[in-house]
Symmetry: C2
Subunit: 281 residues, 2 copies
């Protein structure tokens, strides 16, 4: 199959590596010539170009640009596509994006490969990045079933990802809970510690913080543009989850204010019991 | 030097291993005969006993029982101690405990070795557990300086820990921020997710949760008795930090409600910039 990848960063580059390894012919499209040259030199793609016109040859196209650019990229691609071309994306929020893209291109299937790294860019692209990771597809009622089937085959055979299929809105609600809310929860923890008024205590806290603080604060101390993107593109679901979270903080405050240790014991036991269901074996 | 360890769990056993390796003679005291036999069989201690009487021989004694039992253990030990014996503990909250213990035994120096594992018990005790980890000592104005000096030498030479010295109240405030607050923040995250009313969305969220959720929820899904102990023994400081944290959640909600993306960008940038100060190299 001929596969086009628009946007050669971590995700686009890693997709290209796996598709090529599975025997597909891969065209990479990047804005910068240097990125194209790098992709060719490292045999990440079979062919590279800076213009979207060359995508005409592809049977399936993955738009791997930042989420804010996906709509505009699809608009620019449209004139060059055959009606049978399947277009997908890798954006981490799906609702409004999928609705708009489906209107523009009926053969569009929203996708979200849930794999990442702390670093970004083609330099850190790697084969096997999506193996055993979730890959969510979000077809809507108008989406042609053949397009979904074709994508599923590709993703299963070349990426060895765990495929999930759901409504765009269910996707956005689920990622708000397990991906976007944790960023805010964790960022708030870092900022709360900085509120300590005694500099000696803050210095001590910084010196003795260990793995517990490190893990709990990790996603909150990550790339600001990622957290911002989540809030901008998934605002309603993030708000909803953050309000539900504040209720939990209030419950904890009430329990501790009342020194209701049996309630706190039950709360912590329930958390311990619930967590394993969120961890894939 | 003759060192007594009362309570042979993860911390007591690990202290014993390092002190013995550094050439000290180590007596272990445990309630169960089987624990004493295990400690002898695995050469964790030189001698083991179930009665506190045998502690009379020790120059320095570490009380490594659960925090709720430290005061009573010191009371039971007292009749057998020489006036020169230095007594320390390994409790993770220091304020009230150190005040009471100092009244009972002037040669008492509060201590908190900040190392741990997910598992508990002598089975998982290990040599080198405290190497390069923080070990906080909390002497008060009445504490004899010689007792502090003696302990510091022991800890530096045998454990190779990073030693910090501070007021018991500063210790409790610092650990509230970086150890006790994260448990509540993280537990609240797990419970908030469970509030999702649509079972299909909850199932999807559980299936696609990945490293971000895993890390942020880790300490909140830990042993309930640990979180409970933190809240019971460090209630006032935990309350204070949790109220400060709720303010941060409110700030985030306000920013997101108002779609003030420049404020959110600054907030997340400040978090990213602040986190490294909490991570020891």
């Amino acid at each position: 199959m001929k596969i086009g990848i628009v946007g050669l960063g971590l995700i686009g580059g890693s997709l290209a590596l796996d598709f090529k390894a599975a025997g597909h012919w891969v065209l990479g499209i990047a804005r910068r010539v240097a990125t194209c040259e790098q992709a060719i030199a490292h045999q990440i793609v079979d062919q590279a170009a800076t213009d979207l016109k060359s995508a005409a040859i592809a049977d399936v196209i993955f738009i791997c640009t930042p989420i804010a650019a996906i709509g505009a990229t699809l608009d620019q691609l449209r004139p060059y596509l055959r009606s049978t071309t399947v277009v997908s994306d890798v954006g981490s929020v799906k609702g409004a994006l999928v609705a708009a893209a489906t209107e523009r291109w009926p053969n569009f299937v929203g996708g979200h490969p849930m794999a990442g790294k702390a670093e970004a860019g083609l330099d850190v692209a790697e084969a096997g990045l999506f193996r055993d990771r979730p890959y969510v597809l979000t077809p809507v009622s108008q989406t042609p079933p053949e397009a979904v089937t074709q994508l599923k085959h590709l993703i299963a055979e070349a990426l060895h990802a765990r495929i999930y299929e759901c409504d765009p809105s269910d996707h956005d609600r689920a990622v708000a809970w397990i991906s976007h809310l944790p960023v805010m929860v964790s960022s708030g923890l870092i900022q709360a510690c900085l509120e300590e008024p005694d500099p000696a205590v803050l210095t001590l806290a910084q010196a003795i913080a260990s793995s517990g603080f490190c893990d709990t604060s990790r996603v909150g101390g990550g790339a600001p543009e990622l957290g911002l993107m989540m809030a901008q593109f998934n605002r309603l679901e993030l708000q909803r989850s953050l309000y539900a979270y504040r209720q939990q903080v209030d419950i904890l405050l009430q329990i501790i204010d009342q020194e209701d240790w049996s309630a706190l014991g039950n709360y912590l036991k329930a958390s311990q019991a619930a967590r394993p269901q969120f961890l894939q074996p």
